[in-house]
Each structure stands twice: as C-alpha cells, then as structure tokens.
C-alpha cells in the first residue's frame, strides 16, 4: 500500500482497527512467564483464529502479534537471534487471518528499556534493532506499519526512522498518555508535531486510558494535524477479581464513546487492553458509517522539543532565540566544551529560558573540537535542562545529521543558504528529520549588498525547498544583519528584506541582532533601537542575549507598540514585577528611618530578615535599650509566629523564617548586650541537642536547635551520629537542663534508652526530650523521656520542663 492510498483510505471513511490480543491469548491458555510471540508461533492456529475474529468483527486493519518481537526484548528470553523468523512468521499468520479482507500492519513497540541518556540503549542501537524486526515483517508481507504503546517520543522516533530507512510503506504511530502527558513528559501537540514532521502517516494514542480520556487528546491534536488521527483506548481500568483481570467497561459503554471520538477528529478507531472482537463490532455499529471530520488547518509554524511546542507568527508575541550557547567569544563556554563539561551548558540554557528565551540556538563551533560529538552532547544537555525547542547551528553536514537524529522534537536548522553545496547537502537532511530551517540569503557569489539581491536568493532557495516538500511555514528567513560600522546602509537593507518577507512573501523572519553594532561603542543603544525598528517592520524572531535586561525590555515594549502583545498584558506583567521590587526597596528604607519598634515586630512576623536587621539597628539608634527591644517587640513577635504556626496559619518555612529574622536582629543587638552589665538577657535554660549514634538525618534536629536559640534557650548542638558518652559529658559540663535527641530510623531509635540509662547512672539532674519520624509518645514514656511531634511543640515542651526543673519538679 502506498502512503497516498493510505491517506485517501483514512480520509474517506472511519477505519476500524483491531482490539486487544494479549489478554485474549492468556484466556486461551498462554501461560505466564513465556515469550508471548514465541508461544503464539507455536500455537499459530489459536492466534490465526483470534485475529480472524477481528476481521469478522469489521476490522479494516489488523496488527501482527509482534508487539515485543524486537531483539532487545527477545533477548530477555534468550531468543534475540529469532527476531527475523518470528516477525516473518507472525506477519504471514496475520495475512492468512486477514484473508485479503483486511490490511495487515506490522506492529512495533517499545524495546523495554529507556533510550540514552535516560537508559542504557543508544538511539542507533534501537534503530538497528527495530530494522531487524522490520525486515522480518516486510518479508512476511505486511501492508503498512504501526508503532504503538510508546511512552517515550524518542523511542517512537527511533522506530519511525528505522521504518523510513527500510521501506516506503505507510506508518501509524500511537503514544500512550497518562492524562495529557506521556510518562517521559511529552504532551500530545509536541508528539504530533514531531512525528508528522518526521514522516508518520497517522498519529494518535493507544492504551493507558479509556476512551473518555482520549477525546481530549484527539481534540488537542486535531487543529494542528496534517495527518489522520488514531485512537485505540483500553476498556477502562483493570482490576483483579478472584485472580482474574477484569476491565471496568463493557463493549456497550466502550462503543458509546465512538461518535464523540469521531467528532473530536479521529480517522481510525480500535481498542487496546481488555477489548475483544465484540468491542470492535460494537464500535463499528456505532461509527462505521460516520465520515471523519475535515478540520480547517491553518499553516502553523511550529517548532518543538519533546515537552513543549512553540508557534512562531507575526501576530503573536515576538519570539526570542537565546544566543548564549554559541562559544564564539565566550571563554567560559569554550573551555567547558573543550573539557566536555555539560553542566555549564545546562546552566546557560536555564538562565536564558528563565530570562524569557523561547527557543535556544545551540552551536558547538570551537576550533579543533569534535563538533559532531560535542553538538550531540550539547543537544542532550539542553533537552534535559529545559523544555525550550532548539536551533541547531552548524553548517557541518555530519554534525547536523547526528544532532537532528537524536533531537527528540522538531528542531530548526540554522542555517541553509543559497550556496549550491549547502542546498544539496543540508536541505535533504532537514527534510529527512522534519526540521524547520533558517534561510540565509547568501549564494555562491557571496553576501549580497542589496535587499533586492537577497530577495532573489530567498525566492530561489524557497523554490528548491518546495520541490522537496517544504512549505513557507517551515522557514525563517534571515534578514542578514551586517555591522553599520563598515556598511552604513546595511541596517536599512535588512529592514527592507524583513518588510518584504512580512508584506509580500508572507514568511517568518529572524536576525542575528548584535551583528548590527559590531565595532561600535555603546552597542546596546544600537541593538535596542534596531530591534524596535525591525519589529515595526514585521520581524518575527531574533537571536539575541535574553540575559540582557535592556534588550528584553525593548522586546516587551516593541511588542506592546505593534499590538502583538494584546492589551499590553505581557508588558505590564514584566514591568510590574520590577516596580514591585523597587517599591519594596524604597519602602524598606523609609521604614528604616522610622523609630522602628513596630516594624521590627512586623519584620519578624513576616520573616523579613534584611528588614529585621535594619529595624534592630534603627531601634538602637533611636535610643532604646537592647533589653527593651527584645522584651517589647522581638519576643512578642516570635511568640506570634509560633501561635500562627500552631493555628496552621503559617507552615514550617514561615516559622523558620520568623526565627531567622529574630536571629538577624539578635546579632545586631548582641554587641550592645555584651557591653551593658545591666542588660543581660537571662537564658531560659541549657539544652544539649544531638542526633543519636548511627543516624545521619539531622535537618529536623537543626531546625529545633535554631528555634530553641531564638526562643531564648542556651543550645549546645553536638551534631549528628553522636555517641552516648559525648552527650552525657556535654550535659555534665554545661549543667544542662534538658538533653534533646533525634532519631529517624528504627535501627537508631534504640540509642535513646541507652542515653537515658547512662544519664541515670551518672545521676544527671535533667530531662530528656525526643523526636523524629519513627518515635512516638509511648516509646518515649517507656523509658521516661518526653516527646513532641514537631519543632515548635518541642520549644514549648522545653519551656515547661525547665520551669518544672526550676521549681524542683
């Protein structure tokens, strides 16, 4: 079957696919633990009969029973060398079952391991494994292919590439979504854009959920789908009843969603786990007479990563392309690339997207470096760090293909010029991997000076691109920015090209912005002015430094001025953040000029550490004594923080922030307290605190130590993994009122009674408090200790115990 015939078939009427097989064969006697594909070959009559039942139920396409028949999966049963034979035989059995009344799709699914960098299987290892399976299926006579139940878009790409490199048969690809994401985080739109660009002939979803959940996925995909859509849901959710797996939807309720799925936009409908020929028959009765809807599809310019799709259009907010992952002139990045340190690459990627970059340009051009391997490593690092799609910036065909092959989304090739060699080598690569590209209006004669010459090249390159299947929405034209230092009219020529692209040719544009000011002083002034002019002339994207605040401010202002930022919402959001910050700073200094005490109280309540410090200083300047400040403001404030925490108005970080603010203020008052003999603040008591021997979890203990200090206790913190002897010695030496111990594991909590026993034998006159995830009140009481289940309650308990201690209790 040709791709054209397949497309026509799925456009004309709703196509019925088959349903579940694994559960049916299990019911028919397939034992647990066997290789299902091998067992099916040995029980071919049973398999053929089951597949035949789907044909009789109305399936137009049945799948070969080769779901796990790839060499990596078969190696789990020690039979990977049977890959070809098993696939060929299982394809032949499916053809016999189809009997010429249904088409046979060669079924490929996951190899069972995640691909690099998440798992151990390299991308090309997966491709080669799938090719062995594909060869068997082709020789067995399949009409088309289906790649199904993929959790990882990257693995679906590997299978699709393997099929494309093996034959010209149509390919359907379905992923499995948990809600609106695959397990690896891909959303339906990014999956669709990636797969249809890469050459899938139909895309959709199968398994994982019931039909109701798939309606939303199909609705999300439909407006952007250039290819037919598929849904193959489970019969609801499985459960175990008397040792038998039961799915919660019967055939009637399953089929009741058929019409809704067709209305949402599916062209082919079947079933997955838990469905049987009866389910397919019911779906056929409901929907087979329905014609798939034909959605109005606008020409979208869509680039995507495996987790995010970005639309580029002149009416949408300006698309900033981050330029910082290009080592030219960047010493730190250059050195990192030479050392293979990809942490720097990840950090730069994150910094740019945090600053507002929508796409990231990735370039590995360092003299003497292995560009291919470095570019691949950079692509992996960027994909792992951020969800922004990328531009692959190289003219080296080997490096470009290597990067495009492993990029798990739809990248933009930066760039393809009108030079004959570039056109011949790079254009087919961009097409093969479904990428967009930046069209650089340069040809074999060099860089044209005038806009008119550039426009001629643009038309010529686009005509070539169109021949191999590109449309205008797949292209960004580079306006070609030259420095005005050497060519005073260069910027004007660029603006003419941008304007022509916008008004006449209706194609998206980009520029490498900072080139315009090369060799000039105060480059930012030129860059921002030129950016605003270019946006006014219709520029859609630019490669610039998003970490330059002035530049990003210019982007936001330009968008608002040309009404690409509707009602200036993005502009207001961007700048209101700044204003708030400025307001806060000025507010703080005004407060600091006031007498301070009420504000110090507020600063502690709000956990505002810097203000607390300022306020304490101001309070001293105003003539208040440290004791007065502490007694009248700070202690009431920290008590209020505690009350709010107890009433759950505050959560733990707010309680600690209050204590931190208290600590900062106390540090300001401490020197004054030292100086004044009358101003000594009496400690509430001494507490030796530790995490017991063998236990290394200490954050809970550290929180308590900090709170105790700020609530007025003298705290001796011995740290973690502390021997009983050290605890006793410290308690003795400091005449402690309380020993406070923490343990987080059942294996370490038994240290606590040991410390108690030593405490008694040493006749220490102190209490023991304990806390930690595994201990409770009854455990504490079993050896005479006190217990509290959170840090603030422990502070209160300490106060009560010390009061009792002082009263001779």
């Amino acid at each position: 079957m040709t791709k054209k015939e397949f497309k026509k078939l799925l456009q004309n009427r709703l196509i019925l696919l088959d349903g579940g097989m694994g559960t049916l064969l299990q019911k028919a006697g397939m034992p647990n633990g066997v290789c299902p594909e091998k067992w099916a070959v040995l029980n071919s009559d049973l398999l053929r009969d089951t597949q035949r039942k789907y044909v009789e139920a109305g399936s137009d396409i049945i799948y070969t029973f080769t779901f796990g028949a790839n060499p990596i999966k078969l190696s789990e049963y020690g039979i990977s060398e049977e890959t070809y034979t098993l696939n060929k035989t299982l394809a032949e059995i499916a053809r016999e079952a189809a009997g010429g009344e249904a088409l046979v799709a060669g079924d490929i699914s996951s190899c069972g391991s995640l691909l690099h960098p998440f798992g151990s299987v390299m991308f090309d290892e997966a491709v080669e494994g799938f090719k062995k399976q594909i060869k068997g299926l082709l020789d067995g006579g399949v009409d088309l292919f289906t790649v199904e139940t993929m959790m990882d878009l990257q693995e679906a790409r590997a299978a699709l590439i393997a099929i494309k490199e093996s034959c010209d048969l149509p390919v359907m690809v379905t992923l499995t979504f948990e809600g609106q994401r695959t397990l690896m985080g891909s959303d339906p739109l990014s999956a669709l854009v990636t797969l249809q660009s890469l050459g899938a002939d139909a895309v959709g979803c199968n398994c994982s959920s019931g039909p109701a959940e798939m309606v939303d996925i199909i609705r999300t995909m439909k407006p952007y789908a250039k290819v037919p859509l598929i849904a193959k849901p489970n019969a609801g959710k499985p459960r175990l009843e008397n040792g038998v797996t039961i799915f919660d939807m019967d055939s009637e309720s399953f089929a009741s969603y058929a019409e809704e799925l067709v209305e949402a936009g599916v062209n082919a409908l079947g079933g997955c786990c838990g469905t049987t020929p009866e389910y397919i028959k019911r779906v056929g009765e409901k929907a087979k007479s329905m014609k798939p809807i034909k959605a109005e599809r606008k020409p979208y310019s869509l680039a995507c990563s495996n987790r995010k799709t970005v639309e580029i259009h002149g009416t949408l907010p300006f698309t900033v392309i981050g330029e910082r992952l290009n080592p030219t002139g960047k010493k730190l990045l250059k050195e990192a690339l030479l050392k293979g340190d990809m942490d720097v690459v990840s950090d730069i990627a994150r910094a740019q997207t945090d600053a507002g970059a929508i796409l990231l340009d990735v370039n590995a051009g360092v003299p003497g470096i292995d560009e291919k391997e470095t570019l691949k490593a950079m692509v992996n690092a960027v994909c792992n760090a951020v969800s922004a799609p990328i531009l692959i910036d190289t003219s080296n065909p080997g490096a470009l293909e290597a990067a495009l092959r492993i990029y798990p989304g739809r990248a933009v090739v930066n760039s393809i010029s009108g030079e004959s060699e570039k056109l011949e080598t790079l254009l087919p690569l961009a097409k093969k991997y479904g990428a967009m590209f930046v069209l650089l209006p340069v040809d074999d004669n060099g860089v044209p000076e005038t806009a008119e010459e550039r426009i001629e090249i643009i038309k010529r390159v686009y005509s070539k691109a169109k021949e191999v299947g590109f449309s205008k929405e797949d292209i960004l034209v580079d306006g070609l920015v030259m420095t005005i230092a050497s060519n005073p009219s260069g910027a004007l020529e660029t603006l003419k090209v941008i304007s022509w692209c916008k008004k006449t040719y209706k194609i998206n544009t980009t520029i490498g912005l900072s080139n315009v000011s090369f060799g000039l002083p105060s480059r930012e002034s030129i860059n921002t002015a030129f950016l605003a002019m270019a946006v006014a002339n219709g520029l859609t994207t630019a490669i610039l430094n998003p970490n330059n605040q002035q530049m990003m401010q210019s982007v936001k202002a330009s968008d608002a001025l040309v009404s690409r930022d509707k009602n200036g919402i993005s502009y207001i959001e961007y700048f209101s953040g700044d204003n708030q910050e400025q307001g806060k700073i000025s507010g703080k200094s005004e407060k600091a000029q006031e007498s301070g005490l009420k504000s110090l109280y507020d600063a502690i309540i709000n956990g505002d550490r810097t203000t607390a410090e300022d306020m304490a200083r101001q309070a001293l300047i105003s003539g208040k004594s440290p004791k007065e400040i502490i007694d009248n403001e700070m202690i009431p404030a920290i008590q209020m923080v505690g009350d709010r925490y107890e009433q759950k108005q505050y959560f733990l970080p707010q309680l600690i922030r209050g204590a931190e603010a208290m600590e900062k203020a106390m540090a300001v008052l401490a020197p004054e307290l030292e100086r004044s003999s009358e101003e000594k603040i009496e400690s509430k008591g001494t507490i030796v605190i530790a995490t017991v021997k063998g236990d290394v979890h200490d954050i809970g203990k550290n929180i308590l130590a900090m709170l105790l200090k700020n609530y007025g206790f003298n705290v001796i913190d011995l740290g973690k993994d502390v021997e009983s002897g050290r605890i006793i010695d410290a308690a003795k030496a400091n005449n402690a009122n309380i020993i406070a111990l923490s343990a987080l594991m059942t294996t370490t909590m038994n240290q606590m009674p040991k410390v108690m026993s030593n405490m008694k034998s040493e006749k220490l006159n102190c209490y023991m408090m304990i806390g930690g995830a595994v201990v409770d009140r009854s455990f504490a009481e079993s050896f005479g200790a006190y217990y509290s289940n959170d840090a603030y309650k422990a502070v209160k308990l300490a106060g009560e115990l010390i009061k009792r201690n002082k009263n001779g209790g």
């Binding site: 175990l240 797996t245 786990c273 956990g607 925490y645 108005q649 954050i699």
Partner: protein, 205 residues
C-alpha cells in the same frame, strides 16, 4: 526477566502540593504571601535542577508466600505481614530504588551552613517528594509494559521500615539491585546514603 534496569537523569512528574503538605501547609488555614510563595517556587525549581535522579528496578518471581514470609525465586526471604497481604495475588515482585544523587544533600547542607534553614527545609521536602515520585515513574513504566500482557501492578508499594516490614531488609534490596552501582551506600544502621534514596517493592498480578 532478572536483569536490573537502570534509568538515569529522569524527571518524574510530581505533585507540588504534596511538597507543601510535607511542610505543614494547610489549604484551609495557611496564608502565604506572594514573597513566600515566590521563594518556595524558586527553591523547588532549584531542587529540580540540582537533583540527578537515578532509578533501578528488577522483576523477580515469587516462589512461595507463607505469611509473614515471602520467598523469592533466588532464595531471598522478605518478611512482613502487611507485605504478605499486599502480595497475596502476585506471582512476581517489582523491586525498585531511586536516588537523588549527592549534589542535593550538598545544597541542603550549604543552605544550613549559611543560616538559611527555611530554604534548606523547602529543598529537603521537595527533594524527598521528587525522589519518591521517581518510584511512581518506575511503576508507571513497568505497568505499561505489563498491561498488554494482561498483567498489572499492585496499587500500593511498601518500603523497608514501613509497619512490620523491618528496615534491616534494606540489605536485601541493596544486594538485589546492586545499589552500590547507583551511588548508594548503606551504613551499619541500614540508612541509605545519600539521604534522598529510597527502596520499595510492589507486586505484579
């Protein structure tokens, strides 16, 4: 089916509200200012960026269950009444591990040393939640491979230290998953180091 599968640098989907719950947030009572919320969001993002989650799993046949003992194909014996109940319909077990790597503990320690305890506590909670979600990721992935074969996982999983499933049994998990190869160490008290590491078991029905 006995191979240990290792997944590196995974980014599990997790529920942010569970991070807040770990910190005592109560949606009906707790009021967070924009500033606090912004700081919490930023710290959670820092945690995501610092964690480097490695997970591993293997599937092992159950030979026999004689509550509270569960005897596995390779002779390993696990013990726990509630675990026996969980596995009563299972023929195999999924043994799994996840670790957030050493850098996150360094970040938590650094924040504490700098006196930024309120930040340390948020990062600590987020790291625990995200590392735990890596086990959800493993279970979802394994279940996806099982489902077309008519099998599925128990909804719950247990970790050593839960109820009567003794923490000392971390030793068995450590051995079965070759956890030293994942960068996990086990101290004499059966504590996993780095601290943001977790073992668990679920049944395959």
């Amino acid at each position: 089916m006995n191979d240990i599968k290792v997944l590196k640098s995974i980014k599990p989907v997790y529920n942010k509200s569970l991070v807040l719950s770990r910190l005592g947030y109560d949606k009906y009572h707790t009021a967070l200012s924009d500033e606090v919320m912004h700081e919490v969001e930023r710290l959670i993002k820092d945690t995501e960026n610092t964690l480097n989650i490695t997970a591993a799993y293997r599937i092992i046949d159950i030979t026999h269950i004689n509550p509270p003992q569960i005897i596995l194909e390779d002779g390993t014996t696990l013990s726990g009444q509630r675990l026996s109940d969980l596995l009563k319909d299972s023929r195999q077990v999924l043994i799994m591990a996840a670790t957030g790597g050493p850098k996150i503990m360094e970040l938590i320690a650094k924040k504490q040393e700098e006196g930024k305890m309120s930040q340390a506590v948020v990062i600590d909670a987020a790291a625990s939640e995200i590392t735990d979600s890596a086990l959800d990721f493993v279970m979802a992935m394994v279940e996806q491979h099982l489902r077309p074969r008519g099998k599925f996982l128990t909804k719950m999983r247990f970790s050593p230290g839960y109820g009567d499933f003794d923490i000392l049994q971390q030793k068995e998990f450590y051995r079965l998953l070759k956890a030293q190869d994942l960068g996990i160490m086990l101290n004499e008290a059966c504590l996993l180091i780095p601290e943001k590491s977790v073992f668990a078991i679920a049944g395959i029905c």
